[in-house]
Symmetry: C2
Subunit: 253 residues, 2 copies
DNA sequence: CGTGGGATTGAGACGGGTCAAGACTAGTGG
DNA sequence: CCACTAGTCTTGACCCGTCTCAATCCCACG
């Protein structure tokens, strides 16, 4: 496939932003960790931006709220994901983030991050790439919200979740939805009733099995067909983590 | 208003990302300019990422296409706007961009940009802030696509256009839509027929006047009401331009 | 064993999509 | 300069997907 070739070639001959580098977790730069209970707010719109957060454990949801109180969930975050990026622009967080379960996050004070990343271009690159990826993800989701039917969006959502769980070393076919039906609806631009109906219908069709929050995906080909993707496509957008498992900043030398 | 205060305070006491700095357009670093005719493609998905583009004149549309050929327009760009940002992550452009009218863009080879911005943190900041803003814009648009009715989306779209034209020194109430109905629909997640119907209805209601591509907004309060905003809200997200009018890179010292 | 939040399911309404016909517009070539 | 043409826009009729409203069920928790 032409695009795949191009992509591969580009990753090797990457002109500027290196795909992977010699990463050294500098030993004496551990991040602090903050704990949040389910329902706690990590940050909210208008709050002064001081730090980025990297999820260590648990799960979060980010969302924006319109003047009229309408809620759009902009994303769900699990271990390794970053939140707070939109605060960079105006030094004020632009979305709300709450914990869906008891969670722990690494706190990266932005001042420190900048200072550290000045020593090598790697950190800067990593952050820029993360931001660019966020834009990409947003555009893909806009595509879903703007052009696809409810069942297609749901399929994409489930496959995306599945993939992320798999990437975390968990089962790709059986997992627990950390969020409410309402949150899923808020993410997919649907009402909670529609979400419920879709899950029921998909169960009736043998595509999956639901029992409250527990879900098991049975028919991946059907989901791919709905989502309009193929198994190889949508390869997980894995990136060198900004902090390692122990919470040390990843800065190349 | 509490939020406005906070915002203002934060811009002055910005801990890390400076709001404004002493900008010096370094004299011997003009960007090259490329000309595009209407319908020309600036870049497309999968193409090797080498440069960012800053619109100098004309207008562009960016969009992504799904497997099934469904098109989601992700944005329209006019003078001062940047495209190509999503290529940073994987060194491959992630969206298509075409010229809606004969246009000129400054070309910023990314390698050079990086080299130059290494001399001062300002350039890096500017780029990061631009990326973060793009994320913010995407989230706002997701809110529209996911939660709002067609007429509300249209109102938001028109007010946004109006504001951008005003910011370019043009009339905020009378302007020419550079894009087709289909493009507007593709942006708002609607069909071209619905777009046409909405414009007709708004004209009937005395909110605006349309004649083909020429539009004049008559009743701003009505538009604000529809959009769920207020005049002061949605203050234009103006940022120090990355290149000045002559195409010199803006790099603080 | 209650209690309340979450989830399911149904009936009906409505917004927007789809299909199709016609009008307008700008660009093209005679 | 005009006529032709293809692309664009408008408008109508109908249909379908999703929302709304409401009743009921389920389960975790005290």
């Amino acid at each position: 496939m032409a695009i795949a070739e191009l992509l591969d070639r580009n990753q090797r001959t990457a002109p500027a932003v290196t795909g992977r580098a010699d990463i050294v977790s500098l030993p004496h730069r551990p991040c602090s960790v903050r704990r949040f209970d389910r329902g706690d707010s990590l940050c909210s719109v208008g709050e002064s931006f001081r730090a980025l957060f990297v999820v260590r454990r648990g799960s979060l949801k980010s969302f924006v709220v319109s003047r009229n109180g309408l809620v759009q969930v902009t994303g769900f975050q699990v271990a390794g994901d970053i939140v707070g990026l939109d605060g960079i622009d105006r030094c004020v967080y632009q979305s709300d983030v709450v914990a869906l379960a008891d969670s722990e996050v690494f706190v990266l004070p932005f001042l420190q991050w900048e200072q550290w990343s000045r020593e090598s271009a790697y950190g800067q690159h990593l952050l820029m790439r993360t931001l660019a990826r966020e834009t990409y993800r947003s555009h893909q989701h806009m595509l879903a919200l703007g052009t696809m039917r409810a069942d297609q969006r749901m399929a994409i959502f489930l496959l995306d979740l599945s993939q992320r769980y798999e990437h975390l070393g968990l089962s790709r076919s059986e997992f627990v939805l950390g969020m409410l039906r309402q949150d899923i609806g808020g993410y997919l631009g649907l009402t909670l009733e529609t979400v419920s109906r879709l899950l029921s219908r998909m169960q009736r069709d043998g595509i999956l099995q639901v029992q409250g929050k527990a879900i098991s995906l049975l028919d991946f080909p059907a989901l791919w067909r709905l989502a309009g993707t193929t198994p190889d496509h949508h390869q997980h957008l894995a990136l060198d983590p900004i902090v390692d498992r122990e919470g040390n900043l990843a800065v190349a030398h």
